[in-house]
């Protein structure tokens, strides 16, 4: 009996200890494994790294953060289940969740219904538009990538282009978004081709594009290895008009896969994180991206990816909002997130408004050109 009582007391002590330790609960559902693991994996590492860092420095207004991460494996059904669990069982104060657009779209309604602030890391514009009360987003949208590309084309007096798009969700979405704004820039699409996400030869499609007279540039909204193969085939066929890619391939491994020789002269919009060290010292974003890059690379031993940066931005926006709100009260935190002004993250400067829960502008993107197997910033 005494043993039992002692054990109960010990258990009670343990419980109260954890309570004293973790007073703010942040829940996260990420695609750590599965096809979207390249998104979820750096996001998880980033969150864990920086939560530990914040806790070591005393937490938020003296309260420690408890981070709960679930892996949805890229499956929207799992994402929904885990988000429900976070809200109902774990009773989290805020959500940093959703690696892909599909998983995010499954989580948003739950956060709305339960009234939990949610910052998501999805790419597509649907993940933030139309504006929902509790939902926020940190990554640039594909629409912004399109605008950045068209701006650059306009500067080069390119008015007639061809599009070769991946037939996956990302490629389709970005292609559709591009078509909604292309008219604004006076650019005309002369020819369109697609390829399947796992195709390993696009010479047939590119041959058709090559045969179209008047094409001044080619745009490839795509993701994964597809754009790398497009770039190789482009070189093989000797097409000599400029080639543009979307922001989805902005990583060092893309240049390696496409081979530096074939990638020479290719342009794409990307977050400043990719060219952290190359930014001019006068750039207000330089400090935050260089710091994040160094920390991430030192702690994980892996090259930094823009996707982890989105998680960093989300966490920091949330933490700042909680500090200003003086705690984890959900409604107050939500209001404070919406009031985020002049926050410099890895994705650019964030100015949230009641009708803009993304808060990024085009300056968040840098237009890059690949030269000698490395990125250079185009002005």
């Amino acid at each position: 009996m005494r043993v039992l009582r002692l054990a109960t007391a010990a258990a009670a002590l343990l419980i109260s200890a954890t309570f004293a330790q973790a007073q703010i609960k942040i829940g996260s559902v990420l695609s750590v494994t599965g096809p979207a693991s390249f998104l979820g994996d750096p996001e998880k590492k980033t969150l864990e790294m920086y939560v530990a860092d914040i806790n070591a420095k005393g937490g938020i207004n003296g309260k420690k953060i408890e981070l709960i991460v679930y892996d949805d494996g890229g499956d929207p059904n799992n994402a929904r289940t885990f988000a429900t669990r976070l809200i109902e069982q774990d009773k989290v104060d805020a959500l940093l969740a959703g690696s892909t657009t599909a998983t995010t779209m499954a989580i948003i309604p739950l956060a709305e219904e339960a009234g939990v602030p949610l910052i998501n890391f999805a790419g597509a514009v649907q993940a933030v538009s139309p504006v929902k009360k509790w939902n926020f987003k940190t990554p640039h949208t594909d629409l912004m990538a399109c605008e950045k590309i068209f701006e650059d084309m306009k500067k080069r007096n390119i008015t007639k282009i061809a599009i070769i798009a991946g037939a996956d969700a990302f490629g389709k979405s970005m292609r559709d978004q591009c078509m909604t704004v292309i008219g604004k820039y006076g650019i005309e699409v002369l020819h369109e081709e697609t390829y399947q996400p796992r195709d390993n030869d696009m010479t047939a499609q590119l041959t058709n594009i090559k045969g179209k007279p008047g094409v001044q540039a080619v745009l490839n909204p795509g993701f994964g290895q597809g754009p790398a193969i497009v770039t190789r085939n482009y070189k093989q066929l000797g097409i000599n008009v400029p080639l543009y890619h979307g922001h989805g391939v902005a990583s060092k491994s893309f240049i390696e896969l496409a081979t530096p020789a074939a990638a020479e002269g290719v342009r794409l919009p990307a977050a400043a994180l990719l060219v952290a060290e190359k930014l001019p010292d006068s750039d207000p974003q330089k400090k935050v991206v260089v710091d994040y890059k160094k920390t991430y690379e030192a702690k994980t031993g892996q090259p930094v990816s823009g996707f982890g940066g989105h998680a960093y931005d989300g966490l920091m926006i949330l933490v700042e909002a909680m500090k200003r709100a003086g705690g984890a009260d959900k409604a107050k935190v939500r209001d404070e997130i919406e009031k985020t002004k002049g926050f410099w993250g890895t994705g650019g400067v964030v100015n949230m408004k009641p009708d803009d829960h993304l808060g990024l502008d085009l300056s968040a993107f840098k237009m890059l050109e690949i030269k000698n197997g490395d990125w250079t910033i185009v002005n």
Binding site: A167, E193, Q196, N200, A204
Partner: protein
């Protein structure tokens, strides 16, 4: 005309890959009646092992050899621990086992290697050759030559060596082969080893063109299977022709009709052929005596 040539080259290159996968299917099917859906994983192993061995500092030819050895070892293990213990099971059960094995291999590859795409430099330079206004990569020629050599070697093995004859005999009638003193278990094991080697060689040859990752096998297995069916399951020559036809259909479909439906076009043609010739282009009509 340059377009036509370009589609032709592109189709032949891709078709040669499918042909090699289809050949692997055929070999194992012939010896054991098993349709081995882990065939694409041998292709993956060929590319991935070569890349990681080369990245670890092993010279490329040695790395390629190592990849073949690894694939053969995996093929033998697959036979010994998955197929052999279930030898009395029905064909469907065996197919399910190979699908399971392919999922396992993919999972292990994702953990042992990583989930990124990889490539290594082509064996004969990157400058494309210009033929009649179309371009072809030297590596594509190597793939085609490699596929051709493998097919000839297979034919020589089957018709000129005692082991090959034993394989043919096992394929024709397992019981009768056993009665004449052929170790059919060893022969079936050998067929797994050889088709693993063919898959791995294919993977090594095409990786500089198509890139590789832990999960390239699934789609290749599907396309290779379609090619094998088209050519007539169990017919090595048919497998090669079937592979080339599927590749050509895809590239001409994408080029002349629509890139959005190119896979659909290929599969519709295959279905149409199988509708009129259920045993494939080269398969013999099967008649069973009751």
């Amino acid at each position: 005309m340059p377009e036509f040539l370009q589609f032709l080259f592109s189709g032949l290159t891709i078709g040669a890959i499918y042909a090699l996968v289809a050949l692997g299917f055929t070999l194992i099917y012939n010896a054991s009646d098993v349709i081995n859906f882990a065939q694409g994983e041998f292709v993956m192993l060929g590319g991935m092992v070569t890349f990681f061995a080369a990245a670890a500092g092993v010279p490329l030819p040695l790395a390629a050899l190592l990849a073949i050895v690894v694939a053969v070892a995996v093929g033998l293990l697959l036979h010994r621990f998955a197929i052999e213990p279930a030898r009395g099971a029905s064909a469907v059960t065996l197919i399910i086992i190979t699908i399971g094995a392919s999922i396992l291999l993919r999972g292990v590859a994702a953990v042992v290697f990583d989930k990124n795409f990889h490539s290594f430099p082509p064996f004969a330079g990157t400058t494309p050759w210009n033929v009649g206004g179309a371009t072809i990569l030297p590596q594509s020629v190597i793939v085609l030559l490699g596929a051709g050599i493998i097919v000839v070697a297979m034919w020589a093995l089957m018709s000129m060596t005692l082991i090959g004859k034993a394989m043919v005999a096992t394929a024709a009638n397992k019981l009768a082969a056993q009665l004449t003193g052929i170790n059919t278990r060893a022969i079936i094991g050998l067929s797994f080893a050889v088709s693993a080697a063919i898959g791995a060689i294919g993977g090594i040859l095409v990786t500089p063109i198509t890139l590789t990752s832990y999960d390239v096998g699934t789609l290749l297995a599907l396309k290779g299977f379609a090619a094998a069916m088209l050519g007539g399951m169990g017919h090595p020559f048919g497998a090669v022709v079937g592979g080339l036809i599927v590749g050509l259909l895809e590239s001409f479909g994408a080029g002349y009709i629509s890139s959005a439906y190119k896979d659909a076009i290929a599969f519709i043609v295959i279905l149409a052929v199988l509708f009129f010739m259920p045993n494939g282009l080269f398969g013999k009509a099967s008649a069973e005596r009751v």
